[in-house]
C-alpha cells in the first residue's frame, strides 16, 4: 500500500502482479494486522483501535460526498447521532436487546435524517451545501437536546450492550476482542461496498458531477437525484458508524449530534486524503493518536486542537491531497 505505481502491473521480483492482485494482497495484509491486533494489544489500545475504526467509517462515509461528489458536508453529526439514538431506541424499547434490531433502527433513523437533509440541501451547491448541511445538523441537535422526555436531553440515554448474536449459530456477550472483530468486519465490508459504488457507473456519474456539474447535467443525467442518492448512501454509513459507537460505549449523547463531530469528520478526511476511502480512516487514526500523544505529553488540559488545527490549515494550503493523496489514483483503479 505504500508504493503507488501508476502502470498497469507491478514488478515484484520476477513475477508480474496485476493491480487487482496487489490491491487484494495489500487489503488482506492490512486486515490480517487488524485481526491479530486485539490479541496483542492491551485493553486500552484495543478499545482505542476499535474507536478509530468507527470514526474511520464515519469519515469514509463523508468521503463519498467530499472526495467523490465534491460536496463538503458539515452535517454528518446528524446522521451519526440519529444512528446512535436509533440504536438506543431499539435497545431500550425492545427486550431482550437485539443487536441487529439496533442496527436496523439506527439505519432507519439515519436514513430519515439523510432524506430530509438531502432533499433540501442538494438544491444548493458548493459552500451553500456546506452551510445548509451544518444548519440542518443543528436542527437535529436542538430537537434532541430539548426533547428531554424522549431523548434524555442533555444527559442522553444509557443502555446495556446487546449480545453478539448470529441467529441459530452464536450468542455471547461482547468482549472487547469480539467487539473489535465485529466492528472490523462491518468497516471492511463497508469499505469494499463503497469502493464498488465509487467504481460503478453510478460512482462515475458522481465523479463527473464533481468535475463539471453543468456538463453532467447537459449530458442528461438527473444531477439532483444522483446527489440525493449520494447523500442518503453517505448518511446510511454514517448512521452505521453511530450504531457501532453506541453499542461500543453503551450510551447516546447529544454532544455527538453537535457540530464538533461533523467538524472532526471533515478534519479526518482532509488529513488522510479525500477521494481515497481509506485515507479518512488513516486520518482518523492520525488525529486520535496525536490527541492521545499530546494529552499524555502535556497533560489532559492541553488544547490539542491548537496544534492539530494548525496542521490541518498547513495541510490544506500545502498538501491538499492529504496523507494518502499520493496513492489516490492507484486506490481508485
Amino acid at each position: 500500500m505504500t508504493t503507488a505505481p501508476l502502470d498497469k502491473t507491478m514488478p515484484l521480483g520476477r513475477v508480474k502482479l496485476s493491480h487487482t492482485a496487489v490491491f487484494w494482497i495489500g487489503f488482506c495484509a492490512v486486515m490480517a494486522v487488524l485481526i491479530v491486533a486485539p490479541l496483542v494489544l492491551p485493553e486500552f489500545w484495543r478499545r482505542f483501535l476499535t474507536e478509530i475504526l468507527i470514526w474511520g467509517l464515519l469519515a469514509m462515509s463523508s468521503d463519498l460526498l467530499i472526495g467523490y461528489t465534491g460536496m463538503i458536508s458539515f452535517g454528518h453529526s446528524a446522521f451519526f447521532g440519529l444512528g446512535m439514538y436509533g440504536a438506543a431506541a431499539a435497545l431500550l424499547i425492545v427486550s431482550p436487546a437485539n443487536l441487529w434490531l439496533a442496527i436496523l433502527f439506527g439505519l432507519a433513523g439515519a436514513a430519515a435524517a439523510a432524506l430530509f437533509v438531502a432533499y433540501f440541501s442538494t438544491r444548493l451547491r458548493d459552500i451553500y451545501f456546506a452551510i445548509t448541511t451544518l444548519i440542518f445538523s443543528q436542527i437535529f441537535y436542538v430537537i434532541i437536546f430539548t426533547w428531554t422526555p424522549v431523548t434524555g436531553g442533555e444527559n442522553g440515554l444509557i443502555f446495556t450492550r446487546p449480545h453478539l448474536s448470529i441467529p441459530f449459530l452464536y450468542d455471547a456477550r461482547f468482549t472487547s476482542s469480539t467487539m473489535h472483530w465485529f466492528v472490523l468486519a462491518i468497516v471492511a465490508a463497508s469499505y469494499l461496498f463503497l469502493r464498488r459504488v465509487t467504481q460503478s457507473p453510478f460512482g462515475m456519474v458522481l465523479q463527473s458531477i464533481r468535475e463539471n456539474e453543468a456538463r453532467t447535467r447537459a449530458i442528461g443525467y438527473p444531477v439532483q437525484l444522483y446527489k440525493i442518492v449520494a447523500v442518503m448512501l453517505s448518511g446510511l454509513f454514517a448512521g452505521l458508524a453511530g450504531v457501532l459507537y453506541a453499542v461500543q460505549n453503551q450510551f447516546a449523547a447529544p454532544d455527538f449530534v453537535y457540530f464538533i463531530t461533523s467538524g472532526d469528520t471533515v478534519i479526518f478526511n482532509v488529513l488522510g486524503g479525500i477521494g481515497t476511502l481509506v485515507g479518512p480512516i488513516v486520518g482518523a487514526g492520525f488525529f486520535q493518536l496525536m490527541r492521545e500523544l499530546l494529552s499524555r505529553l502535556f497533560g489532559d488540559q492541553f488544547p490539542y486542537l491548537i496544534p492539530l488545527g494548525l496542521v490541518f490549515i498547513v495541510m490544506i494550503i500545502f498538501l491538499p491531497q492529504g496523507l494518502l493523496g499520493f496513492a489516490r489514483r492507484w486506490l481508485n483503479r
Binding site: 433540501f120 444548493l124 458548493d126 459552500i127 490544506i316
Partner: protein, 298 residues
C-alpha cells in the same frame, strides 16, 4: 363575536412590543456581524467560518482592555483595531495562498482557523464566562420592565457603524475599489486597483465589525469561548436568506429573523426558538434560493 374578542384579548400586546424592541436590538447586532460576512463572501467568494471566532475574540479583548483601563469605549475601539490586524494577518497567511483554488478550500481553512482560535480562547481565558459591565446603567420603564437604555444604544451604535460603513463604501476611494472588485475582479485589476490589498482590507474590515459587535453584545450575555458558533450560524442563515453578498438584504434578513425569533420566545423556550430561523431558511431555500430580499432573477 365573543370568541373573536376573546382571541384579541389573548394576544399579549405588551409582550409583543417588548419582544419587538428585543428583536430589533439583536437584529442590529446580527446585521453588524452578517454584513462583514456577506461582504467577505461577495468580494472574494470566501465563506468565513472563523467569523464567529473573530466576534468572540473581539469580546475577549474587550474584557481584557476594560479590566486594565476601565473604559468601555476604549475597549470597543482597541478591540476592533486588534482584531482587524489579526484578520489581515490571517488573510495574508492562510487565504491568500488559496486564491485561484477551489473555493471549498477556503471554507476548510477558515474552519481550521476557527478551531485554533476557539481552543486558544479556551486555553487562555478558561471555560468560565466573563462579564462586561454595561457602560450606562440607566433604564426606562417599558410596561412592567425596567428596560436598559444600553440595549437601545446597541441598536443605534450598530446602525451607526453600518451606516458609516455604507458611506465608506459609497464615497471613499477604498470603498470604490471594493465595489469595483466585487463587480468585476479581473477588470478592476486591469484598471490598476490593487486587488490583493482590497481583499486583505475587506477581511480586516469584516473582522473589525465582528469584533465591534462582540464588544457591544458582551454585556448582555457574558463572554465564553463557544459564543462564536451560535452567532456564525445565525449569520450564515441571515446571509443565505438575505442573498449571499447582498449587504442590504443581509441587514433586512437579520432584523426579520431576529424579530421572528423574539416573537417565538413568547411561546416557546429560547433554545427552541432557533428552529424558527431554521424554518425560514428551509422555506427560503425551497421557494427563493437566491435570497428573500433580492429582486427575482430574470
Amino acid at each position: 363575536m365573543d370568541a373573536v374578542s376573546h382571541f384579541l384579548h389573548a394576544i399579549p400586546v405588551d409582550l409583543i412590543i417588548i419582544q419587538t424592541v428585543n428583536g430589533i436590538v439583536t437584529g442590529m447586532i446580527l446585521a453588524l456581524i452578517a454584513s462583514g460576512l456577506t461582504l467577505i463572501f461577495g468580494i472574494m467568494d470566501v465563506v468565513n467560518f472563523a467569523h464567529g471566532e473573530l466576534f468572540m475574540l473581539g469580546a475577549y479583548i474587550g474584557v481584557v482592555v476594560i479590566a486594565s483601563t476601565g473604559s468601555f469605549w476604549l475597549a470597543l475601539v482597541i478591540s476592533s483595531l486588534v482584531v482587524a490586524i489579526l484578520g489581515a494577518a490571517l488573510q495574508v497567511a492562510t487565504l491568500r495562498p488559496l486564491i485561484g483554488r477551489d473555493p471549498l478550500n477556503t471554507i476548510l481553512v477558515t474552519f481550521g482557523i476557527s478551531l485554533v482560535l476557539q481552543n486558544f480562547a479556551l486555553w487562555n481565558f478558561g471555560p468560565v464566562a466573563r462579564k462586561i459591565p454595561e457602560p450606562i446603567s440607566s433604564s426606562f420603564t417599558l410596561f412592567y420592565l425596567q428596560y436598559p437604555w444600553y440595549r437601545i444604544l446597541i441598536a443605534v451604535l450598530s446602525a451607526a457603524i453600518i451606516g458609516g460603513f455604507w458611506l465608506f463604501l459609497k464615497y471613499s476611494r477604498f470603498g470604490v475599489w471594493i465595489r469595483a472588485t466585487t463587480q468585476d475582479r479581473v477588470m478592476a485589476q486591469a484598471m490598476g486597483i490593487p486587488v490583493p490589498l482590497v481583499y486583505t482590507g475587506v477581511f480586516a474590515l469584516g473582522a473589525a465589525m465582528a469584533a465591534a459587535s462582540g464588544v457591544l453584545f458582551a454585556p448582555l450575555v457574558g463572554v465564553n469561548h463557544t459564543m462564536g458558533l451560535d452567532w456564525v450560524l445565525k449569520a450564515f442563515i441571515v446571509v443565505v436568506v438575505g442573498g449571499m453578498g447582498n449587504l442590504g438584504g443581509s441587514i433586512a434578513a437579520a432584523i426579520f429573523i431576529s424579530l421572528l425569533e423574539a416573537y417565538a420566545t413568547i411561546w416557546v423556550d429560547p433554545s427552541q426558538a432557533v428552529i424558527v430561523s431554521f424554518v425560514v431558511l428551509i422555506l427560503t431555500l425551497l421557494f427563493r434560493p437566491t435570497g428573500l430580499f433580492v429582486p427575482t432573477p430574470k
